[in-house]
């Protein structure tokens, strides 16, 4: 039986992009406002009794490292119980899970989860690329973000005959979806040839196989399921969730054609929600790189291991396909402001399950959607949340 103890009663994001003219705190406030605007019957903000802030990188110039301290006052919730959540790329989706548990426990009633990330207050070199020099003095040296996923592409191509075109098809699909999303970082379509001809970033991945560096924020409001009607007539229930871990070391993967953390997190989430992969109508999955979406849809059980490369090529994961994947444009087109990413995906699914997604609305069969993030060193953390629309 589906868990269904906690409802999403509001969700909103800010337009993603390189937001050089707004700061970390301003993005958090704008996401909060967008979330409040989505609550059908409105909400008295003084009744919000807990805040979880997802920010992955506490390494900018400001005070985002202590976001549980700095964000409440900045967004107009001074005094609220607040905590920063960091759990690698799934930080946002894990903050969502923690928020749901806080509500379900009865300790808190109305919980705001805000994800906010400033990726572009530092130069690319000093920001994301500097990761190549962080971590272990030898074992992780040179491991910028694409170097954590490219080994899987090399091996997947070797083992299953996955091609550059199959990778490129994922980017083409997600950029098409992004062109329909006015909040996406990139709102233009691209061609397969453009992906293939783009410069190499980390062999075998090229520039358009990679998500951009994006500033952004998203916020979600959670309430006990039995009180959801106070806020909305069309809540989205949390059917289940799963989180799982795997070794952070790249040389300790069981194999290099799948992400073990995703498989384990999905198994827990499916069990908790009492659903199977076949029951999912639409999914927002972690496509930081094209290969990642291919690995994800295999690891989540949407297709047989090794067949993931065919799904976008054959249109199965397109908006009008059997299983639309990343209707928002995904990380590849919408962008990947890390702490905000999971909550932005949940916002997309909130819109889809309420049939409010406009030109990128997908067909609903069961009213069940899946959200997924994976990341960290060695893709060692994954979170899966399963959502259910109420009609």
């Amino acid at each position: 039986m589906s868990w269904d103890k906690v409802a999403v009663v509001g969700a909103g994001i800010i337009p993603f992009g390189e937001l050089f003219d707004v700061g970390y705190e301003q993005m958090a406030r704008s996401a909060f406002e967008a979330c409040l605007a989505s609550v059908d019957h409105g909400v008295d903000t003084s009744t919000i009794d807990a805040l979880f802030v997802a920010t992955q990188r506490g390494t900018l110039w400001g005070q985002e490292g202590i976001a549980g301290n700095t964000v409440p006052a900045a967004i107009g919730l001074n005094g609220v119980a607040a905590t920063r959540i960091e759990n690698a790329c799934p930080s946002g989706s894990d903050a969502f899970r923690v928020g749901a548990m806080a509500v379900a426990s009865g300790v808190h009633d109305l919980v705001l989860v805000v994800g906010v990330e400033k990726m572009r207050d530092k130069s690319t070199e000093e920001g994301l690329l500097a990761r190549a020099a962080s971590g272990h003095p030898i074992m992780t040296r040179g491991e910028s973000a694409p170097a954590l996923f490219a080994p899987f592409a090399t091996r997947h191509m070797h083992t299953y005959g996955t091609t550059r075109e199959m990778l490129a098809a994922v980017a083409v699909k997600n950029h098409h979806n992004g062109s329909l999303n006015e909040d996406a970082h990139f709102q233009h379509a691209i061609t397969m040839q453009q992906v293939i001809d783009s410069p190499p970033v980390c062999h075998p991945l090229h520039l358009l196989d990679c998500c951009p560096q994006t500033d952004g924020a998203a916020a979600v409001l959670l309430a006990p399921a039995e009180r959801a009607a106070d806020y909305t007539d069309r809540p989205v229930l949390i059917g289940g969730f799963g989180v799982a871990t795997d070794s952070p070391w790249m040389h300790e993967k069981t194999d290099y054609v799948g992400l073990a953390a995703t498989t384990a997190a999905a198994k827990r989430a499916y069990s908790m929600a009492d659903v199977t992969p076949d029951d999912i109508d639409v999914a927002e999955v972690h496509d930081c790189f094209t290969i990642t979406e291919i690995l994800d849809i295999e690891d989540l059980g949407f297709c047989e291991k090794g067949k993931g490369g065919h799904m976008a090529v054959e249109g199965i994961t397109a908006l009008d396909g059997r299983l639309p994947v990343n209707p928002s444009g995904g990380l590849l087109a919408k962008g990947h402001p890390i702490g905000a990413t999971g909550l932005a995906q949940i916002t997309e699914l909130w819109l889809q399950l309420r049939s409010q997604a406009g030109s990128r609305q997908v067909a609903l069969r069961n009213g069940i959607a899946l959200q997924h993030n994976v990341g960290g060193r060695g893709s060692g953390v994954a979170v899966v949340n399963i959502l259910r629309g109420v009609t």
């Binding site: 690319t124 070199e125 000093e126 690329l129 500097a130 190549a132 020099a133 962080s134 971590g135 272990h136 003095p137 030898i138 074992m139 040296r141 040179g142 491991e143 910028s144 694409p146 170097a147 490219a150 080994p151 899987f152 090399t154 091996r155 070797h158 410069p199 190499p200 970033v201 980390c202 062999h203 075998p204 991945l205 070794s247 070391w249 790249m250 040389h251 300790e252 993967k253 290099y256």
Partner: protein, 452 residues
């Protein structure tokens, strides 16, 4: 030229491992490590124990790091020889290596190479014997590098150096060696008979003569009154250039592969030394041609980068190397020794041990330290093109299946064009980064053949 991630220490490791392998000695039984180099990677620092660790020698091993001039290799050899003669140790590993950095615009730019050679010395066995040595010295300046200076200067007055010191000293030392060998000319019937009667070696001396600038070598041959055909060091000088402290050892290699007497004349740092050896039978591991065959042409930019004269000019990212930190104290030894932790429960190997208090496969805390093999095959890889300076792209990063069934991740030492899944690789010590003057060493993979 060595690569931009190589220096006198990584070259010393490569040569030392070869010598230990060919000498068929257990590294843990070696009593002394004697290393000579004009340019250790740190002017002051723990370079000798770093070398000992990378070679798998005992932590408390005796020995020394000789430096200060290109005579350092001979100094290391002499010290090891004396230690064995005095009975202090039974077996010594002597390594001479250099990766000199000549001044931009100097004549040394075209004549300087890099290289290393290593000998295993024992008191009582071996295919060749050290017989005699003789040294002369003068407190005068030839090539030098001032304290804190990055590059080696040319002789101030090359002709003065040649006429007043080099030629007279090489001539005097060579004459002494010929006297010692009882080989006054070059293999006349009379001298051979005399030598045989005196119990001295029969046959012509083969010579390794100094040639620090690719010009003085000709003067040295004349000064030594050596038959040019008997000078075996010419090939190395022609192919590699002057290898500093390693030059006498690389120069004599071709003579060590054939029975008979051999003579080394080494010059540097104001001193000239002669060594007389007798090769009883071919010394294993003396195949210079094979060592030279692996070379490839390099442009001037590559050479400057390798000599650490071409460095990023603008912002670089911190490489996160805290010298002398607790973290590096925990990790340096295991990284240099290439250690893993073998699980007593499931036999899996987790590496490196300090980040694995429990087995990566089964979680058991029952682990014993093991040394990882240095050969394996490529499991998967990437070639990273996008990193901030001081990283150099393209940089391969390779997951390697090691021959004992364990797995590790290392950087590749090439530009990646030779890497494929399944390709056999060998792990070699290279410099991963340098910050605050501190080099950090780790293993990199070199592809050793085609995919099979």
């Amino acid at each position: 030229m060595a690569g931009s991630d190589e220096d006198s220490l990584t070259l010393a490791v490569a040569a030392g491992l070869e010598a230990v392998h060919h000498g068929e000695v257990d590294p843990t039984t070696i009593g002394g490590l004697y290393w000579g180099t004009a340019r250790p990677p740190m002017a002051e620092g723990p370079t000798l124990p770093m070398l000992a660790a990378a070679l798998g020698l005992t932590p408390g091993i005796a020995g020394l790091l000789a430096s200060g001039s290109t005579h350092a290799g001979i100094d290391a050899l002499t010290a090891a020889w004396h230690a064995i003669s005095a009975g202090a140790i039974d077996t010594a590993l002597v390594i001479a290596s250099d990766a000199l950095s000549p001044a931009l615009g100097s004549s040394g730019e075209a004549s300087t190479g890099s290289g290393a050679a290593a000998w295993v010395l024992t008191g009582d066995r071996g295919n060749a014997r050290l017989l005699r040595s003789v040294t002369t010295g003068r407190p005068v300046l030839d090539r030098y590098r001032g304290d804190g200076e990055p590059a080696t200067r040319d002789d101030y007055d090359g002709r003065l150096h040649r006429e007043q010191w080099f030629v007279p000293d090489v001539a005097a030392i060579a004459a002494r060696l010929r006297d010692m060998a009882g080989d006054t000319a070059s293999g006349t019937a009379a001298s051979t008979a005399a030598a045989t009667a005196a119990g001295r070696p029969a046959g012509d001396l083969r010579w390794a003569l100094p040639d620090p600038d690719r010009r003085l070598g000709r003067a040295a041959v004349e000064a030594a009154q050596a038959d040019p055909d008997a000078v075996v060091s010419t090939t190395a000088v022609t192919e590699i250039g002057d290898t500093g402290a390693a030059a006498p050892f690389i120069g004599i290699i071709d003579a060590l592969g054939v029975a008979g007497p051999a003579a080394i004349v080494a010059h540097g740092g104001g001193r000239t030394t002669g060594l007389l050896l007798e090769v009883d039978e071919a010394v294993p591991g003396t195949d210079l041609a094979t060592a030279l065959a692996a070379s490839a042409p390099a442009g001037y930019g590559t050479v400057l980068r390798a000599r650490q004269r071409l460095v990023p000019d603008s912002e670089t990212v911190p490489m996160g190397i805290p010298p002398g930190s607790a973290m590096l104290a925990r990790e340096t030894d295991e990284l240099l020794r290439l250690l893993g932790a073998r699980c007593s429960e499931c036999d899996a190997v987790s590496t490196p041990p300090s980040v694995h208090p429990t087995c990566a496969a089964c979680g058991s805390p029952k682990l014993t330290t093991t040394t990882l093999p240095r050969t394996g095959t490529v499991h998967t890889f990437v070639i990273n093109h996008t990193m901030p300076a001081p990283f150099e792209a393209p940089l391969p990063i390779i997951v390697v299946d090691l021959d004992d069934g364990s797995r590790t991740q290392v950087q590749g030492a090439s530009d990646g064009s030779d890497i494929a899944i399944g390709a056999p690789v060998r792990l070699v010590l290279r410099r991963y980064a340098t910050e605050r003057g501190v080099p950090i060493y780790g293993y990199k993979a070199v592809v050793t053949g085609q995919e099979g």
